[in-house]
């Protein structure tokens, strides 16, 4: 009996912690391709870039924890293949590890651009601590940074770059930033906030070429303009690392397909985190979520299934982002919503946007409004109807908005 965890990120380490918390006493091995102890990625684009936190501040557990809990770390190496019949994995160095249960927590990787010049030096991604270190070196005061992609990674990086005094231009293919992950009013709000911090935007703009001999000096847009830069950051989405699962015949569909308990099409193999396509009962659909809370929820489910302990409660998906002095917290997903109720005044930078289907909240986007976020999360989970007029009036305490 033993558990092998493929992937040494937040999800992988969390499975080990949950297994031990549930009383699992057999050996656990984590195989991770980064040579450092499992750490938190969210601060990389924020506190880490700004130099406000060091490596020990990101590390999830100190080395002593793994030793004391009989969790073997095989870091700086990769699993090469999974043999489901013999229930073993083969590592890059040829070693094999037997498992009774396998947990795949390989995450996602940053999507690369392929246009001419995309391999020049100074074109950076942000996924790992090493990436973030490279980026940090480029973010000197007065440096010109172009950020390709106006998603969370792009905007958080832009906010950190501005805080460090670098000049920033964000190039986004769509007509608005956060197009995939936030509603129109929130996109507009964040654009205005960034503009007020002297970041520049090029919307509806696509990059056709990176300019430079060995090091990037600029990017050429489809309209022929060249934006000069000292470094470019590419944050254009992530691709699930599901190749290992595909290669051994586990069902995948842009991510490893799992059930509500993180089990794959093979009952001995679980998968958690960014790499999975998971059911969301609350929304009656399969989704791939890139977020820490999602990985933690699935880690609890996988550990409970392996240990045969009580099934943990289903959670409402949630996300957060810190930019400048703004704390954005999102709960739920706004599928097929008919209406947005604004609570609070967006101009004060403290408000929330409730997405409704009828009089039921499906999602909430809260800026510097943690109470709305927390209460909204509860409303979403319980499908409790609200009174729109009360919800729209920030003077009415949120607990009194229920129908």
């Amino acid at each position: 009996m033993s558990v092998v965890i493929v992937g040494g990120g937040h999800g992988g380490a969390s499975v080990a912690m949950e297994l031990r918390r549930n009383g699992y006493s057999e050996p656990i091995t984590i195989v991770g391709d980064e040579a450092v102890l499992p750490y938190q990625r969210p601060p990389l684009s924020k506190a880490w870039l700004k130099g406000e936190v060091d490596e020990s501040g990101l590390t999830l557990r100190p080395l002593q924890w793994y030793v004391a809990n009989n969790v073997t770390l095989r870091l700086g190496t990769r699993v090469q293949s999974i043999d489901r019949d013999r229930r073993c994995v083969t590592l890059a160095d040829g070693a094999t590890l037997q498992f009774s249960s396998l947990v795949i927590a390989t995450g996602a990787r940053a999507r690369c651009l392929t246009m001419p010049g995309a391999n020049l030096d100074g074109i950076l991604m942000l996924r790992t601590m090493l990436d973030a270190d490279r980026l940090k070196q480029s973010m000197r005061a007065g440096a010109n940074i172009v950020i390709v992609g106006g998603g969370y990674v792009g905007l958080e990086t832009a906010a950190s770059a501005r805080a460090l005094g670098a000049n920033v231009t964000v190039v986004e293919r769509e007509a608005r930033v956060l197009a995939r992950v936030a509603c129109m009013p929130l996109s507009k709000f964040f654009t205005e906030v960034h503009v007020s911090h002297a970041a520049t935007f090029e919307l509806n703009a696509s990059v056709v070429r990176f300019v430079g001999d060995t090091h990037v000096r600029g990017i050429e847009l489809a309209d022929g303009r060249i934006l000069s830069c000292d470094a470019a950051v590419v944050g254009v989405g992530a691709i699930p690392n599901d190749e290992l699962a595909q290669a051994c015949g586990i069902a995948c569909a842009d991510g490893i397909v799992v059930d509500a308990h993180a089990r794959t099409s093979d009952p001995h193999v679980f998968a958690i985190g960014d790499v999975t396509r998971r059911p969301l009962e609350r929304y009656d659909r399969q989704v791939r979520l890139e977020s820490v809370p999602n990985a933690l929820e699935q880690a609890k489910h996988a550990a409970a299934a392996i240990c045969g302990t009580a099934v943990p409660p289903a959670e409402v998906p949630w996300f957060w982002s810190d930019q400048y002095d703004l704390k954005l917290q999102i709960a739920g997903l706004a599928f097929d919503c008919q209406e947005i109720v604004v609570r609070g005044d967006m101009a004060t930078r403290k408000f929330s946007l409730f997405h409704l289907k009828g009089d039921v909240v499906e999602a909430v986007e809260a800026v510097n409004a943690p109470v709305d976020f927390m209460f909204g999360k509860g409303l979403i989970a319980r499908r409790l109807p609200i009174v729109k007029e009360k919800l729209a009036d920030a003077a009415v305490p949120i607990r009194e908005t229920l129908a």
Binding site: T59, R61, P62, P370, M374, F375
Partner: protein, 109 residues
């Protein structure tokens, strides 16, 4: 280094040394003190690192910020000395601090 003692809901005491500047939440996580989840990693965004500060220490620890106070409405077993442990940083003055962890970090609606 300041010593911090965590008392679990069933009375088990665990004392750790916490480097100045680190949070009481980080002390619990790094030393595997059970009873603190800290899902958001210290961003004051989830209310799963709730502790009750021992009454002897409330003056020295001080009150929560407005945002923290608001988040605390959603923690369970909240009392007059409740704080989010990610928002309490270790200092010389807090050497000997005692905090109590609740039965659960499940959010109260």
């Amino acid at each position: 280094m300041p010593k911090i003692t965590y008392v679990s809901h069933d009375g088990v005491r665990r004392t750790i040394d916490l480097k100045e500047g680190l949070s009481v939440m980080e002390g619990a996580i790094h030393n595997s003190v059970p009873g603190i989840d800290a899902e958001c990693g210290g961003a004051c965004a989830c209310a799963t690192c709730h502790v009750l500060v021992d009454r002897e220490w409330t003056d020295k620890v001080g009150p929560p910020s407005d945002m923290e106070r608001n988040m605390l409405q959603f923690a369970s077993e909240v009392g007059p000395t409740s704080r989010l442990s990610c928002q309490i940083r270790a200092t010389k003055e807090l050497d000997g601090l005692v905090v109590h962890t609740p039965t659960s970090q499940q959010s109260a609606f």
